[in-house]
């Protein structure tokens, strides 16, 4: 609607200018130079009809009608344009829902506390899923600390609606006890998951995660696991929302999650 009011202001100021110009002209000084060419044409025409000279400004019933009609026309035009824009935005939003990557899916693993944990246990909370291993030199601990920081930033405002999940990609070495002790260093809400090689492989496949542990890895061995290092944000319905990489700072992620939570609540 701002466009309409701008236009109205413009029309008023043009009218004022025209009447000013005409008065100068009528006053006998031929210096209506600041008027545009069409103005001076109007002025000439108007000066031929001396009768008009005494009307207030250029407001005649005819010009008033044109003015009102233009205003009404513009009002409907802008209303129509606005509607069209809203429809386009709506369409874009729905297509984005359809454009979600297929990340996440069924899995069945064991919690570090011993219970079975499946994808259904993710429902009802916003989960932050990370794949790693306890012998990880530096990236996993940094990312897990980041998840802890994010939770500490979000929980005061949004409550305990978040579930941080750590899935071990080192089935040979990571026992439930190890994972449990390991995660105690990070955030108390962390759920640690372990499983057989096949079960872990299945979970990784669902999340499109790559990991390099061989099926016959030595449980006593000193090796590293190469793996994907994204933090996956899943909504309370277990749908994938976004994957955050190593270079996205905790603040950015927290802001992004806040945005998603607000949008979801609508």
């Amino acid at each position: 609607m701002r466009e309409v009011s701008h236009f109205v202001t413009l029309m008023f100021s043009q009218r004022a200018l025209a009447s000013l110009a005409r008065r100068t002209y009528v006053g006998g000084q031929q210096t209506a130079r600041h008027g545009r060419r069409n103005f001076s044409q109007t002025l000439k025409r108007q000066s031929q009809f001396g009768k008009d000279r005494n009307t207030i400004g250029t407001l005649t019933p005819a010009s008033a009608a044109v003015f009102v009609a233009t205003g009404v026309g513009l009002y409907f035009y802008f209303r129509y344009e606005k509607q069209k824009l809203l429809e386009e935005r709506e369409k874009e939003r729905s297509s984005r829902q359809y454009g979600r990557p297929q990340i996440g899916g069924p899995f069945s693993l064991t919690r570090s506390t011993g219970e079975t944990f499946t994808e259904k246990d993710l429902l009802g909370k916003w989960s932050l899923v990370y794949f790693g291993f306890t012998n990880c030199p530096d990236i996993c601990p940094a990312e897990l600390d980041k998840v802890g920081t994010i939770l500490n930033k979000l929980e005061p405002a949004l409550g305990k609606t978040f579930l941080p999940v750590f899935i071990s990609v080192d089935p040979a070495r990571d026992t439930p006890e190890r994972v449990g002790r390991y995660l105690a260093d990070f955030h108390p809400a962390f759920v640690g998951l372990v499983g057989t090689y096949e079960a872990i492989k299945g979970a990784c496949k669902a999340y499109r995660v790559y990991f390099s542990t061989p099926p016959n890895a030595d449980p006593q061995g000193d090796y590293l696991v190469d793996h994907s290092i994204f933090v996956y944000l899943m909504d309370p319905e277990g749908q994938f929302v976004e994957a955050f990489g190593q270079n996205t700072e905790a603040d950015q992620i927290a802001a992004r999650i806040t945005e998603e939570v607000a949008r979801y609540g609508k």
């Binding site: 030199p137 601990p141 190890r178 002790r181």
Partner: protein, 95 residues
């Protein structure tokens, strides 16, 4: 030898704790600082000049971690060179 002695008889191999990691990173950093001072990029090329730092590093980090950190140091340096080269090329192309 601490928590990284995989080969010993102790069956309970514990996971690295926050303190273990911190200690490893610190000894790594002081070893790498020593290499920097000696103008050495590739760990192992320094002869005996960083022996004390190297010993601490090896005592506090697992072999796999040491291999990983050492490789990363060399790679990061190569990458720095490549980036500098690319930048120089871009600069000269602009002239």
């Amino acid at each position: 030898m601490g928590w990284f002695s995989w080969g010993n008889k102790n069956q309970d191999i514990s996971e690295p704790s926050r303190q273990n990691r911190q200690k490893c990173w610190e000894t790594r950093d002081s070893y790498f600082d020593c290499l920097d001072r000696a103008n050495i990029i590739k760990p192992g090329d320094e002869g005996n000049s960083c022996a004390k730092e190297k010993q601490l590093y090896e005592d506090n980090c697992a072999k796999s971690w040491i291999t990983y950190f050492n490789q990363r140091r060399v790679l990061a340096d190569a990458q720095k060179d490549r980036l500098a080269q690319a930048q120089a090329q871009a600069d000269s192309a602009r002239k």
